[in-house]
Symmetry: C2
Subunit: 516 residues, 2 copies
């Protein structure tokens, strides 16, 4: 096409945009703003976290259903490289601050994770279901100018790792830390190992010596370790940002170890708990009490050596309360953490579906010696069958055949005391009943968005609440407020209409609702 | 572009093709034909199969390394719907033929699968490795004119299923068969359930009554069952064609149950054993003795209810012998069935790495009560660590960290006596050292292919041995001898050169070598 012709097309398009009332700023937008969810910012600092446990306690934030929270989550492995993961970062320094006279967070345990929260949800009661949509997830840039633009993470072959004591090289029982480096801005989609070192006995500020990594938040003295800079050369680990631990409070105890996952969520360590995913949790206590931590930059199904690439992340989440009386067949009676994304439902099974109840008084200790993948598989299989019967309206025989011929069972983790198996159900197998396509324009205009469409470039721009999403039909990436993002699904052109799934609409409606 | 202009371009291109010597038929092609591998056809019939076992015995075919075999594999569940899975198909009728006076294959067991083979490989000796490239896999059209164009498969919720006896509806212990229908030509990529029925006692031609599905090849009398035609409506099960069972002969016994998989392969039931994949098996007996069976059209990781969509398939495989002395680091000392495809290495672990040796004299019976996923996971984890150390030259600490942050462990099956866990290693994580890109033209010309390139359409045509592959840069499907196929990877355009992986070259070289 000649340049002159292209110009003519653009003029024509511009005119089209002007004369078509749908392309103008609609008044509907202003009307709806009053019902806009509130956006909160929850920084990670010594006041806003609990270290090593979840449960009932004073909330650090209270939200209404529909509100959006930008939440900072800090890794409990920051001490593995003070210079790269603590130094110069005010919030992380605050959490980790510990000298002979002061320990900002002295109350650590019985688990290990730094949990931001809890967040109380107005009106949440036992029997309700809490939905958490993960709208955005970003690496936390490190605070040390010397390493500007980089984020670091630690992977620890720990004493709770699956092959601890079964190594072939001496010492058979060893803890080895590998520090990984990433581009904070996400310019690369992989992590590279920077160096590794064997754990050596570390002395804490109280003078106690730790021969193994037996206390959360120990800061490794670089003079005591030997760095191996020749590690995993040329290997590029795919980045899978996710929250390892996201949880509502259990009903069985007020202070619950953050390590074993269970019916209330917790340390599921499924890398699918990422941007674009939605988690559903059964509410067990008034206010639900959501907390978030254990951020990961990369993990395989099984988390074999005990940890992922443990790093710090900041996420945007939308919190939606579903009252018991309004629950649909999938959520009614929900008794495990359920994941949904654009293409899948994921069922989480554990060695013990509710270990706190099943193992009694000493559950929080006993669970460490009782887990098996066999038990977790049985739990996952039975939960999946029940979910297909209730949620997808299948008979028992239909559900069982369906699972055998199309459901993939994987090992979530074998290192978190209560081991996990997940079952992945593809929505597309059910066609429109699970992945329903709707017209993009009407769906987004319905809540007051302005939708613009340029047929020449096949680009759609959706504007709402000061935010904009610009995407081209069929493409996997898009532009959100000027930043390149990965779409949860490409926009499809069907019957000459731009179409997306209902999940897509609900997800980007939430993302566009955030007030900066 | 106006039509006239398009014509000009085509004329110019045609001239280009004529004057460029690389576009003509090269003499190199003719020279190489003499070393062309032989192509064999191995039909499934009563003479060419063993029913229910693998092992040492008279080969039905002997091949040289590099030869290609078109092999028919017939499902042992054909009797679940005689009309749709046996009737009118000469080979299947021959295998199943059984009346009061005659049983064509009377020797069935101790396992269940119809195994085509064994195929002996000239020169194969213990310590060698047998490579099997799966070049093509197609549904076997059913032989009944009434159902022309369709292929059927049976999924059986069997008494060896994972939840047998743990159902909530009565009867708690039941076997239920679901018949699935597929388009034989692959026009659709899904299977649809047609009807289901509960197993009822079946009387075999000898008058023996079978209250459960306890003997392979029973033909269900349609008058004894009640069909439920209202089953899994609107559900479309993704088709994943694969050989459930492919095996070399073990050294421990001459007749080995086909059900438990082990170091020699066998009933691995990994749906990744499909077109585009390569399997490597340790050779244990002279001639290797490869057999193929248990074809599947769809299965989830775990094969939960005991079976997949059991159907009949025909595949093209290339068989390559690697002598012990020539083995590289990945294959040297190989003691498990290893899978490679364009993007992955897949390690197969089992509850018992070699159950025949580990469980002793009664291994073939005892294995049914000894399996656990926990054991299989330990085996898979240790094998994966060893593979990464030896094959990828990682230290033990590097391998362990690598596995935790990037290797996905999944449940292959929990129903085949010796349960399985697989570990998926992404090649891309290692960059060029595992997925090496090479120039398409020189790589294919090197063995005598003629490569034509049309810059206007970005289409490449590769011709060899009377076969042709035509593919467009960046596209996932291609044309092979006029038939649309899925490519194992799109051809990439890098530095103005069409590039593909070494694996791609090796795979399509083999596919193009087949003589029709």
């Amino acid at each position: 096409m000649k340049k002159r012709n292209m110009c003519k097309v653009f003029v024509a398009l511009s005119l089209l945009l002007l004369v078509n009332p749908n392309y103008g700023v609609s008044n509907a937008n202003a009307d709806k703003v009053s019902s806009m969810p509130k956006t909160h910012y929850l920084a990670a600092n010594a006041d806003n976290i609990r270290w090593g446990n979840i449960g009932v306690g004073k909330p650090v934030l209270t939200v209404n259903s529909g509100d959006i929270v930008t939440v900072e989550a800090v890794t409990h492995h920051s001490g593995d490289d003070y210079e790269r993961m603590i130094q110069g970062d005010e919030g992380v320094e605050d959490i980790y601050h510990w000298n002979e006279t002061e320990q900002n967070v002295a109350d650590r345990g019985p688990g290990v994770h730094i949990m931001t929260g809890p967040i109380a949800v107005e009106g949440a009661e036992p029997g309700d279901v809490l939905e958490v949509k993960i709208l955005d997830m970003k690496l936390r840039p490190n605070g040390n100018e010397q390493y500007a633009g980089k984020t670091y993470g630690a992977n620890v072959a720990s004493r709770w790792g699956y092959l601890y004591g079964e190594m072939i090289e001496e010492p058979i029982k060893r803890e080895v830390i590998t520090i990984y480096e990433m581009d904070s801005a996400g310019g690369t989609d992989y992590a590279k190992a920077l160096y590794s070192y064997k754990w050596t006995p570390q002395t804490d500020p109280n003078g106690k010596i730790h021969p193994t990594m037996d206390y959360p938040g120990l800061i490794v003295d670089p003079d005591t370790i030997e760095r191996n800079n020749n590690v995993l050369k040329d290997v590029q680990i795919p980045v899978r940002l996710h929250f390892g631990t996201m949880s509502v409070a259990p009903k069985e105890a007020d202070i619950v170890n953050s390590v074993p996952p269970s019916y209330y969520g917790g340390n599921i360590d499924d890398w699918r708990v990422t941007e674009g995913a939605t988690m559903y949790y059964p509410v067990s206590v008034p206010g639900a009490l959501l907390s978030i931590g254990d951020p990961h930059a990369g993990q395989g199904d099984s988390e074999l050596n005990g940890t992922a690439i443990e790093t710090s992340l900041t996420g945007d989440i939308q919190i939606i309360l579903h009252k018991k009386a309004s629950l649909n067949n999938k959520l009614s009676g929900l008794n495990f953490p359920l994941l949904e994304n654009e293409n899948e439902w994921v069922i989480h099974g554990f060695s013990y579906a509710n270990y706190l109840e099943e193992l009694g008084e000493n559950a929080q200790q006993d669970i460490y010696n009782k887990s098996s993948i066999d038990k977790a598989m049985k739990d996952a299989a039975l939960k999946t069958k029940a979910f297909l019967m209730k949620g997808m309206n299948l008979t028992e025989d239909e559900a069982y055949s369906f699972m055998s011929v199309s459901t993939d069972f994987g090992i979530t983790q074998v290192v978190d005391a209560n081991w996990g198996i997940h079952a992945v159900i593809q929505k597309k197998v059910f066609g429109e009943s699970e992945r329903k396509l709707v017209q993009l324009r009407t769906s987004f205009e319905q809540f007051g968005s302005v939708v613009e469409w340029n047929p020449a470039t096949k680009r759609v721009m959706i504007r709402f609440n000061g935010n904009s999403l610009t995407a081209t039909i069929g493409e996997k990436t898009a532009d959100f407020n000027g930043e390149r993002i990965k779409l949860i699904a490409p926009i499809e052109m069907i019957d000459n209409q731009a179409q997306v799934s209902e999940y897509f609409v609900s997800f980007y409606k939430a993302k566009l609702s955030k007030t900066e």
